[in-house]
């Protein structure tokens, strides 16, 4: 017989966004059911590079990133583990003078956000980070950015939410989702049916299909970053490293393994991705150039994952333009891990208050689907009359 769950909020996807939304909603006293097709944080949230970085984000994202920065600083209090989070600093390397100029311009544009960026070049760069390859001519240093272990952090948000009473169902695929005029109805096979006045679409790279069922077609495409890890090496770098203009990124964890990412793999099917030989070899070649210490190291494992990208590389975050009670949070375009915990809080605020205390208007789905602004009328707020709802 089909199990019937009636909750204030239904969430599709227990990645870092859906799980942190579930956690924030539980802290507000709302009831939550989360349906996760695989395991909590097993897709992009759990297999990404693990960069916890504000530097390089668009100005529109920086308020969210700053809010997330505060959550990361309290991570152990929030999810009960340190998640191997290190405020190691993030160095974005320039390989040419124009790239360095563009890092300087970014520093100027973001001065009001308190990132504390410092431009370092020439001899100072060599003295400070002597292990950098000779192609680096300078870099932009963000001392309070860092890195963490996504395999641990993403599931821990889910488990914490679960401990606080969120009903999280793993290996539960959403086969049907619709609004019956009263509330959202989600079905997974013949096992589970969820009824909720609010639906959070946090399905990552698969969220476009959910949005489409409500008449909102977004131009999202899947991409598959390539990651490679070495055996443990003597510790030589604690910071997280990126390159202006893209290319590769790298960090060394406290066990000594170096994690290098970059390039693009491909999809094996709708759910699985493979890094691919050309991308692996290209990442390895570029990594040695940037980090000559890797010349004597081995790659012991490679992997990929599936991330949803939008054309402007900004997420969709906010109310549906077609369906009251539907709120989207997806399309982080390869950069969702750091801001994920703040996005979860914003989604919870949108449910409870109908608006967010952190500006997120720039991320409305309406920019793709409809010239009109999304539906935000508190008078028709679907939570009206429900326990814990705003008066």
């Amino acid at each position: 017989m089909r199990e019937r769950l009636v909750t204030d909020v239904a969430i599709i996807g227990a990645g870092i966004v859906g799980a942190s939304a579930a956690l924030a909603l539980r802290r507000m006293g709302l009831t939550v059911s989360v349906l996760e097709r695989d395991f909590c944080g097993s897709s992009a949230s759990g297999v990404n590079y693990g960069g916890v970085r504000r530097q390089g984000r668009s100005l529109a994202q920086l308020p969210l990133a700053q809010r997330a920065h505060g959550i990361w600083g309290r991570l152990r209090d929030v999810i009960g583990i340190d998640g191997e989070y290190l405020r190691s600093g993030h160095l974005k390397v320039a390989r040419s003078d124009p790239d360095l100029a563009s890092l300087e311009a970014y520093r100027e544009r973001t001065r009001d956000f308190g990132l504390g960026l410092e431009i370092i070049s020439g001899q100072a760069l060599r003295l400070r980070w002597p292990w950098l390859g000779s192609r680096a001519v300078g870099g932009s240093w963000c001392p309070d950015d860092g890195h963490a272990n996504p395999r641990l952090v993403a599931p821990a948000f889910a488990h914490t939410a679960q401990r606080l009473g969120a009903n999280i169902r793993e290996q539960t695929r959403v086969d049907e989702v619709a609004h019956d005029g009263q509330c959202f109805v989600l079905r997974s096979g013949n096992e589970i049916e969820v009824h909720a006045p609010f639906l959070l679409n946090c399905a990552g790279a698969w969220a476009g299909a959910i949005a489409a069922r409500f008449g909102e077609n977004v131009p999202m495409v899947s991409a598959h970053p390539v990651m490679a890890v070495t055996e443990p090496l003597p510790l030589f770098m604690s910071l997280s490293l990126g390159v202006e203009g893209g290319g590769i990124y790298g960090r060394q964890i406290s066990r000594g393994n170096c994690l290098i990412g970059g390039g693009r793999g491909y999809a094996l099917d709708d759910e699985r991705a493979w890094p691919g030989r050309s991308a692996i070899l290209s990442v390895m070649e570029q990594a040695v150039e940037l980090l000559p210490a890797l010349r004597r190291a081995h790659v012991i494992r490679t992997w990929s994952g599936t991330e949803g990208y939008l054309p402007d590389h900004e997420p969709v975050l906010g109310f549906s333009a077609t369906t009251p009670g539907l709120i989207h949070g997806f399309g982080f375009s390869g950069a969702g891990f750091q801001i994920g915990p703040a996005v979860g809080e914003v989604l919870a605020e949108l449910v409870r208050d109908g608006r967010s205390s952190t500006p997120a208007e720039a991320f409305s789905i309406a920019r793709f689907t409809d010239p009109r602004r999304p539906h935000e009328d508190v008078a028709t707020h679907p939570l009206k009359g429900i326990e814990g709802a705003p008066p």
Binding site: F39, S42, G46, P130, W131, L132, G133, S134, R151, L152, P155, H159, V229, E231, R255, W274, P275, G276, R277, I280, L281, M284, E285, A287, V288, E289, P292, A293, L294, R295, R296, A297, H298, V299, I300, R301, T302, W303
Partner: protein
């Protein structure tokens, strides 16, 4: 020869060699890729060219088989494209990624025979990471390939047909074998006797090893449970439980293992479907008796496709090659194929008997203390694994890996994967089948960053 027919054989052990010979006999020239410097596989591994030990001393009873297999390869060397010292580290889109002399390249194939062999099945016990503890197979390789013993006073511990065979080879080679500690009691061996009698010659060999060891005064203990290795920097002895008491013996090296496990990563990366083998308590790539996998054009043969030993590997290699030829439209001798299939069916029953005679040690997971290291690469203990089951609800092996790092080190789970599955199954109250298997990821073995030309190293 059909120019579109470009078969590749991975592995030059008994299965790969017979497959190569069969293809060559039909006028087809395969590429044969092998990690070792010379053909023979693990069981018939050849010493370096300047070593002078006789076949009889290297291979014992298997000397004539070894010679036959070696000759089979010698006989077709001109007609195959043989590539030794070459690691297949991945595969993609009809091409293998190979590493040879520090450089990577690709080898296209129209058909592929995967004959990747086996390694020891390892079940950790306290002290197993102390220097001087080897796997039984590793101990045998040291002797066969390098003429080295793992120590001067050696104890062999565990189960499986290799246990007595290697002890015998060590004693014959002049090492002092202090004891053979068999975790299996006499009961299972007797119960398995009817199945083992299907191959009386093999059974006789086993009995001969036992009798020889006994006559030469080597202590044999059955039904033991390993307790711990003594020593810190180096093996100083071993403690076991004989069912009643703890007993102790001084030694300077230990060879241990619990029979063999298939090397399955390449088959996995190729997308072959896997099936759970309840006797071996492990997943292996599925195939029919002719060696056809679930992927068209990919054939599986030898111990990499399920542990049946070297004789079966020869037949399976030949049968897989015939299947490949049949599928490519080359006429083959159907009667020969049928004969091979009959032999393989018979030996499968024998293999099942072997698994019953040397069963997986029941209760191993229950008896593993929380501080026992399961994954030596990443230093993950049984307690770490149980913690992930208890605190995070892990009940699937890849999930356990993500949460604990088990199987994430240099071996990529090839050593620790089965033990981790056992701990997970026990701690989560599931059958080993239900906890799944580790997904294989490239590279199959570690590859150096310098596989691509990077130019001369510049001072930092």
């Amino acid at each position: 020869m059909n120019p579109a027919l470009a078969p590749v054989i991975v592995g030059a052990g008994p299965a790969g060699i017979r497959a190569a010979q069969t293809l060559a006999r039909h006028g087809v020239r395969p590429v044969v890729i092998d990690e070792a410097a010379s053909w023979g596989g693990q069981i018939y591994r050849q010493p370096p060219a300047n070593f002078q030990r006789s076949g009889a001393s290297l291979y014992g009873f298997e000397a004539s088989r070894a010679t036959a297999v070696h000759r089979a390869m010698t006989g077709v060397l001109e007609r195959v494209d043989y590539r030794p010292r070459t690691l297949v580290w991945s595969a993609e889109a009809g091409e293998l990624d190979v590493l040879h002399r520090g450089r990577t390249s690709t080898v296209p194939y129209s058909h592929l025979v995967v004959a990747t062999g086996a390694t020891d099945r390892v079940l950790p016990f306290p002290g197993w990471t102390i220097p001087g503890v080897f796997t039984i197979g590793g101990a045998q390789v040291a002797l066969k390939y390098q003429g080295c013993a793992i120590g001067t006073r050696v104890v062999f511990l565990g189960t499986g047909p290799l246990l007595y065979a290697v002890a015998y080879q060590y004693a014959k080679a002049g090492a002092e074998v202090m004891a053979v500690l068999d975790t299996t009691g006499l009961g299972p061996k007797l119960a398995a006797a009817p199945a083992l009698l299907r191959r009386p010659a093999v059974l006789a060999k086993g009995i001969y090893y036992l009798a020889w060891l006994r006559v030469h005064g080597i202590a044999l203990h059955e039904g033991v449970r390993p307790v711990r290795v003594l020593g810190t920097q180096r093996v100083a002895g071993v403690v076991w439980n004989d069912g009643h008491h703890e007993r102790e013996l001084a030694c300077d090296a230990i060879g241990f293992g619990y029979a063999l496990r298939s090397e399955t990563q390449l088959a996995d990366i190729l997308g072959c479907g896997f099936t759970f083998d309840p006797l071996q308590r492990a997943y292996r790539p599925g195939h029919n008796v002719a060696g056809r996998s679930s992927v068209p054009g990919v054939y599986l043969a030898g111990d990499g496709a399920g542990i049946l030993g070297a004789d079966a590997a020869e037949w399976a290699g030949e049968r897989a090659a015939l299947a490949l030829l049949e599928d490519a439209g080359v006429p083959v001798d159907g009667a020969r194929a049928a004969t091979l299939e009959r032999r393989l069916a018979r030996i499968a029953a024998f293999g099942a008997g072997l698994e019953r005679a040397f069963p997986f040690p029941a209760g191993w997971a229950a008896g593993a203390a929380d501080d026992l290291i399961i994954c030596r690469c990443e230093e993950i203990t049984a307690g770490d694994l149980r913690g992930a089951v208890k605190d995070a609800g892990a009940h699937e092996l890849n999930r356990l890996k993500a949460l604990t790092r088990v199987g994430m080190g240099r071996c990529q789970g090839r050593v620790c994967g089965l033990a981790a599955a056992e701990i997970l199954a026990h701690a989560s109250g599931r059958e080993p089948r239900a906890v799944g298997r580790l997904r294989s990821q490239a590279p199959i073995k570690p590859i150096p960053f310098t596989v691509v030309e990077t130019g001369p190293e510049k001072p930092a």
